[in-house]
Symmetry: C2
Subunit: 307 residues, 2 copies
């Protein structure tokens, strides 16, 4: 009855038009765990960190119900470090530094205590690592969700295609969906990508919302129009965490419930961008989340009695 999350735990340095932070906790698995733990525990984390990753951050995650048995701590290396600078429109960014550090040796071993998990969230990583985690699981989870990015399409397309055959839900952005499929139309892209393995495809469009495709169905979830987007770092991972968190809580993997899960993911992501790094995610309560979800309902709600 648990959820395994696989991804990075890292330090980020972020510069946006609104400010700058030299060192803040980040990494896909961190954001996923922070978001998903609002809905379900335990979360069984698989990651790797260096000697420099703060004990208080680990303790904070544990308090939220995140098990860290699968997080390897390397005593003589530093944690993964990423540094980026956002452009004025916040839709694009330049990566300034990528120090792999411990990530170069990441070869995750699934702890015995994690076996039997019903849900698996594979954060953006080398497809070989994602596949290795799937292959180590003695019972196939009820739902496997995979996040990836254009980088892996560029340098590890064959490996990515192999792991795609084994997952249920793929998360990509619109540019990545176009790259992976070779189609400009997202509807055509979705059909091709679902032909590669995933029965469900989520296309994230940032401030323009997200699309969920399944068979011949499509669902659209908007992003909340925000007065200030302070820092988009981690918004995609937070979306994924909210999505899988809702699914794992409800144990319902239907298309209908995935629509709701996408609204939940969008709501969590809308909090994430309000402060630097994961700061806002650490503050929010269940009641904040419920109000924010209600804003999404209001945003798209209209009377159907039309013509």
């Amino acid at each position: 009855m648990s959820l395994i999350t696989v991804g990075t735990m890292a330090f980020d340095a972020i510069e946006t038009p609104f400010g700058k932070v030299d060192k803040i906790i980040g990494g896909s698995a961190t954001y996923v765990a922070l978001a998903a733990s609002n809905f379900v525990t335990p979360i069984q984390q698989i990651s790797i960190v260096g000697y420099d990753f703060p004990k208080e951050e680990m303790d904070d995650l544990k308090k939220r119900g995140v098990e860290l048995d699968g997080v390897e701590i390397v005593a003589d290396k530093k944690s993964f470090f990423w540094s980026g600078k956002y452009h004025l429109d916040m839709n694009s960014r330049d990566t300034l530094i990528t120090d792999l550090n411990v990530l170069a040796d990441f070869n995750p071993i699934v702890p015995d205590s994690y076996q039997g998990a019903e849900f698996l969230m594979l954060g953006n990583l080398d497809p070989k690592i994602q596949l290795s985690v799937i292959n180590q699981l003695k019972t196939r989870p009820k739902l496997i969700v995979l996040d990836t990015m254009n980088f892996w399409m560029d340098i590890a397309l064959d490996g990515l295609k192999e792991v795609l055959k084994k997952v249920d839900v793929l998360l990509v952005n619109d540019g990545e969906a176009r790259q992976l499929s070779g189609e400009v139309s997202l509807v055509k892209a979705a059909k091709k990508i679902m032909g590669m393995g995933p029965k469900f495809l989520i296309i994230k469009k940032g401030e323009h919302g997200a699309l969920l495709f399944h068979e011949n169905h499509v669902f659209f979830a908007p992003a909340l129009p925000l007065e200030e987007v302070f820092d988009p770092t981690g918004a995609g991972d937070t979306f994924a965490g909210g999505f899988i968190g809702h699914i794992a809580k409800t144990k319902d993997i239907s298309f209908e419930n995935m629509k709701t899960a996408i609204i939940v993911g969008s709501a969590l992501a809308s909090f994430c961008v309000e402060k630097f790094g994961p700061n806002k995610l650490k503050e929010i309560t269940k009641s904040d989340i419920a109000s924010r979800i209600d804003e999404f309902v209001q945003l798209v709600n209209f009377d159907i009695d039309l013509v």
Copy 2:
């Protein structure tokens, strides 16, 4: 109980990745009338054409309930001509030719028979012309909707600001909202623009849908994800026509009803892009429109029982 529409009636030459057409009927007022006449008649058109504008197109509009008393026919000049080429992603285009022809002399006189109209749709034109039409109306319409573009912000900002004070609803795209307000955030942009006069602001985002702002409320309408976008020409005008058509039919200018009107406009626009120019708009039936609107309902419909 009628609707006045003001705008261009023109010839277009269009090239898209899917084909090319050398001469097809276009112009903002043509698209608005084709869309709006599905919902309300008479439509009282104000425009200008040359000797070359086809009689059969005029007759076709009349059959749809479009009155042409306000359309000046200039015997010795050609109709307005625009030629453009779309890029592969269909989100951007290059204007190749703009031959103003009759449009250079456009100084519309509102026919007496149009006086007393309840609704006024001002298509994208020189703000001076838009203002002149407003000033000629003896009774202020119940609702005045204005469409404009970045071109007028560049060369006629003062005139635009003057006419903005006199309208109820402004239609612009996201780039234009940012340009007009000087704000990157669309929420902030909307607040500033509503301070310039319009009580309602619609921000069109093309394939990413549309936002409706009013006081502290916001509504989001998606665009339908389409397998093929064949030709986007006229989609914005068609959206405006569906919007004002629904409003004029229901005579309800509340925020709630404007939400529905935006869905109607989006549905009409989704047809427009399926064939060259206005060809698809000429074919569709009330039943086609009802089915398409139902697709929009399905697209955004989700269960609210969340947390």
